[in-house]
């Protein structure tokens, strides 16, 4: 299992989330077509992904939910876990923190940053908020490897630079403004407006058929 396709990585994460829900419901086994239905993809694709990670289900019984969850964890999680920071404790930043609050996960949001003095020093859902001026120290002290940018667009570029200088290894940019990072830092940009425009486009398309 050398090079898992990009898309497979994404789906594995999604499979796991679906599987965790099944586990909660007391399900012990699951068929490929059940997973497929949840994710709106085909059963073949599920089986193919699982083949790629070398997991073998039991014939006629499907896949063992617990085993599969663990295996996916072995592949996509890092053993020691990864600490994450949120830069920008506005609505979006807080939404993400709540999202994660209490989730079992190798990913831990350990710090938030903001410029607003009212927020600095407080704790939100267990996550302390620091001044952005202390970003460098906190990143080092807390061994933070990934930063999620939820700052206003105008601060995007500076924030990204700051994160890079602090030694962060991965950035997830939720700002509508693209940023640049050097090699060695993984960058993922996600623009909510693009996604919404895409939905609108396909709605329009459907109408004009």
């Amino acid at each position: 299992m050398k090079h898992l396709p990009h898309k497979t990585i994404e789906r594995l994460s999604q499979y796991r989330r679906a599987l965790l829900l099944c586990l909660d419901k007391g399900k012990t086994h699951i068929y490929s077509h059940e997973i497929a239905k949840i994710q709106h993809i085909t059963a073949v694709q599920v089986r193919r992904d699982l083949m790629l990670i070398g997991y073998t289900g039991t014939l006629r019984k499907g896949y063992n939910v617990k085993e599969l969850i663990d295996l996916i964890g072995n592949i996509i999680d890092s053993d020691e876990g990864i600490n994450v920071a949120i830069i920008g404790m506005g609505n979006l930043g807080r939404a993400l923190i709540n999202y994660f609050a209490g989730k079992r996960s190798k990913l831990k949001i350990v710090a938030g940053f903001d410029t607003n003095p009212d927020k600095i020093g407080n704790t939100m859902s267990g996550v302390p908020c620091y001044s952005i001026e202390h970003l460098r120290e906190v990143v080092a002290a807390e061994k933070i490897k990934v930063g999620i940018m939820t700052v206003p667009a105008d601060y995007a570029v500076d924030t990204a630079d700051l994160l890079v200088k602090s030694g962060i290894k991965g950035i997830l940019n939720y700002t509508p403004k693209p940023v640049n990072v050097p090699d060695g830092v993984y960058l993922e940009e996600y623009d909510m407006i693009t996604t919404l425009e895409k939905v609108a486009f396909y709605v329009k398309l459907q109408e004009t058929d």
Copy 2:
């Protein structure tokens, strides 16, 4: 120009956003490699996308920013505009509203919905908040075509059903729980946890090289 690739649609939206920024800076023309750099893709890809939409730049001068913005608008926007609702006025819902506030766009967020009586009846950044019980009427009255789901995960499925029954044509689900919609309704699911796990995975991968 019959079938634009999915990915091209997404990029067109992104190009436009980049172009709007350039316009603000007073730039009148832009080269394919400049656009490419902003979006972290190749110039060839930009040119190919523009070829697909039939736009022709001027040799050695690049593309006319204003013209291109307009053309992209003609393709991805619908003429009359599309009205959008946000279901769930929590942090994420409010973040989205602020994101959009004041943006020139054919997409207009015209309504928010929630169950919290403290929120119902208020206005947030110009968007009125209604009780979710009135969803159906408001959707009809306001000709809302797209719904953005930002409700807690446990309400995801019911909310989706409700939206479908109200006659909505497109759903953007920001809930971590996948939902189902019938044919004729376009569904886009986006899970923030997946994206973050992906970033974490590639960070881990980079380390173990």
